[in-house]
């Protein structure tokens, strides 16, 4: 017989603590997993038609409203989002989100300034979405996009995906 014996009292205390630990463990695993699940969820990417862009004038950012399907989370209806289509003189196409890179307020094109203006904290972006004033740390995000030519009409149609081309 070993010199150290476990008294009945000690045994009961240890088993009670063990029980409390087991309960904590059993409740934590599903709860923490449930809360953290969105981090590991796969996004569902879909292409959405924005519209024909042949008539968008060069140099003037033109807003389109798109019913954007959600990429993750419990199923719910699409959310209206703005797609700014910008054609610059060098024949380049910029497809910008109007989400300020500072605090994600909605920016709008201000014709009198000739810049995108964020109403929240006065952030400014030039016509191609580069941050040029105020607190924004980075340019406006663009939408992942592609253009297709409608075979029937021969017109250029813009489509965007429900994701930005970079994280902001």
């Amino acid at each position: 017989m070993a010199a150290t014996t476990l008294s009945r009292r000690r045994f009961l205390i240890r088993m009670t603590n063990l029980g409390a630990g087991l309960i904590t463990l059993m409740l934590s695993i599903p709860a923490i997993g449930f809360v953290l699940a969105p981090l590991f969820e796969k996004r569902t990417r879909t292409w959405v038609r924005v519209g024909e862009i042949d008539s968008v004038p060069v140099g003037l950012p033109t807003p389109f409203t798109v019913a954007m399907p959600i990429a993750n989370g419990p199923p719910s209806g699409p959310v209206d989002r703005v797609v700014y289509v910008v054609k610059t003189g060098d024949h380049r196409l910029h497809v910008l989100a109007n989400t300020c890179s500072h605090m994600q307020c909605n920016v709008h094109w201000d014709p009198s300034l000739g810049q995108f203006l964020c109403p929240c904290h006065g952030g400014l972006y030039d016509v191609t979405g580069h941050n040029v004033g105020g607190p924004p740390p980075s340019p406006l995000p663009g939408w992942v996009h592609r253009t297709v030519v409608d075979p029937a009409s021969g017109r250029t149609v813009l489509e965007v995906q429900n994701q930005y081309d970079e994280r902001i």
Binding site: V35, P63, A71, N98, H102, C105, H108, G122, P137, Q163
Partner: protein, 395 residues
């Protein structure tokens, strides 16, 4: 039973109460709750704590009633509240009281903190009274901001977008925190569901746990009051203090404190003296909420439009200082410095005040090393609020 019914009504009531009391100990409980000594001077200042409690209970009360109409749904939340505005006088009154209750609550908590700060009530052994109180203040601010997100009008939606975006400036884990709060990359139904759960369960649950701790600690150490209650007037201070300690009424003498702060010179009974003052203040505050909740009510802007190009989001008045900090920190790393390092350091210093202010003095003018930074902090908050307000109204 027949014998019981045949007795006069007064005797019957009395014996029914005795029956109940023998089984529950209700009289003893009531005595424990109501009979305690409170410092004699400054009773009106001590009403602020009980007023805070009453206002929090009022928020619980009006909040439960709002669940009669509110659905945490991106598409259905706004129409429910819009219906209140157009067709339900009493419902919009309750909603108005919930908003004005929140405003008055934040204001009264500010006063409560100010008076505790000035009287140095947080010193040994009441450090944890202050710490729990400071945490309660932050919980209330959390409730206020999550509550502002729920109506799904333009104001609520853009509050949800901007506030859930702030955590992403935290290094390394920021994106994850934002993603978890929103339940996705963008604000959507999941963001509202999660915020709703935080507002009606998570924060209130923590709030009431900390209120329990705060009240327990108050009853354990007794109301400190302020330095004016502890003056020694006799020729022999030692003898006077010793006599006070001998004659102290519960919950005094305060344990683990310097002798001179152990027992107030004179005390009054909590019931009815202090409770009367508490009631007067609570009646006045609730009357303000009652009237403003009806006359002014709670605003409701247009239905949330994530694709708006014209709506200008404005923060609630109690978040103007933080909003102004965001304006003044122009780049990513500065947002971190401004919104997290500076504000976080200020908040930490505020929570840990009892461990920073180690002097034995309690009168505010004898503690300039604490009073001046405190006033500086308060002045900064006022200045940032004024700057923020003038910026918003000039845009």
């Amino acid at each position: 039973m027949l014998r019981f019914l045949s007795r006069p009504v007064t005797t019957r009531t009395r014996s029914a109460y005795r029956w109940f009391d023998e089984r529950t100990g209700s009289t003893e409980l009531l005595h424990k709750g109501l009979y305690e000594a409170v410092p004699e001077k400054g009773g009106w200042a001590y009403t602020l704590g009980s007023a805070t409690l009453v206002l929090i209970l009022l928020q619980l009360f009006t909040g439960i009633f709002l669940l009669l109409v509110y659905t945490p749904s991106f598409s259905d939340a706004f129409p429910g509240l819009d219906y209140l505005r157009r067709s339900d006088r009493f419902g919009s009154w309750v909603r108005g009281m919930h908003l004005w209750g929140a405003y008055v609550l934040i204001f009264v908590i500010g006063l409560h903190m100010l008076r505790t700060f000035l009287s140095a009530s947080y010193k040994r052994p009441r450090e944890l009274n202050w710490v729990t109180g400071a945490l309660l203040f932050f919980l209330v601010l959390g409730l206020a901001i999550t509550g502002a997100m729920l109506p799904m009008d333009q104001a609520g939606y853009w509050t949800l977008v901007v506030v859930t975006n702030i955590p992403h400036y935290i290094p390394f884990i920021g994106d994850g925190v934002r993603h978890l709060w929103r339940g996705g990359d963008f604000v959507g139904q999941a963001s509202l569901t999660r915020t709703f759960a935080i507002h009606i369960w998570v924060l209130p649950f923590l709030l009431f746990a900390f209120i329990g701790a705060h009240l327990y600690l108050l009853r354990r150490h007794g109301e400190f009051g302020s330095w004016v209650n502890y003056e020694v007037t006799g020729a022999d201070p030692d003898k006077e203090l010793a006599e006070r300690i001998v004659r102290a009424e519960p919950p005094y003498p305060t344990r683990r404190i310097e002798r001179m702060w152990a027992v107030p010179r004179r005390t009054v009974d909590f019931f009815p003296d202090q409770l009367f003052k508490d009631t007067v203040i609570s009646v006045l505050l609730i009357a303000v909420i009652f009237v403003f909740g009806y006359l002014v009510g709670a605003p409701l802007s247009e239905k949330a439009d994530p694709a708006t190009l014209s709506y200008v989001p404005t923060p609630e008045w109690f978040y103007l200082p933080l909003d102004q900090v965001l304006v003044l920190s122009p780049q990513t790393y500065l947002v971190f410095v401004g919104a997290f390092a500076l504000v976080g350091a200020g908040a930490l210093a505020f929570i840990l005040l009892p461990f920073l202010d180690r002097s034995r003095d309690r009168a505010p003018l004898r503690r300039p090393e604490v009073l001046l930074p405190g006033l500086f902090l308060a002045a900064m908050l006022v200045l940032l609020t004024v700057l923020g307000a003038s910026r918003l109204y000039s845009l």
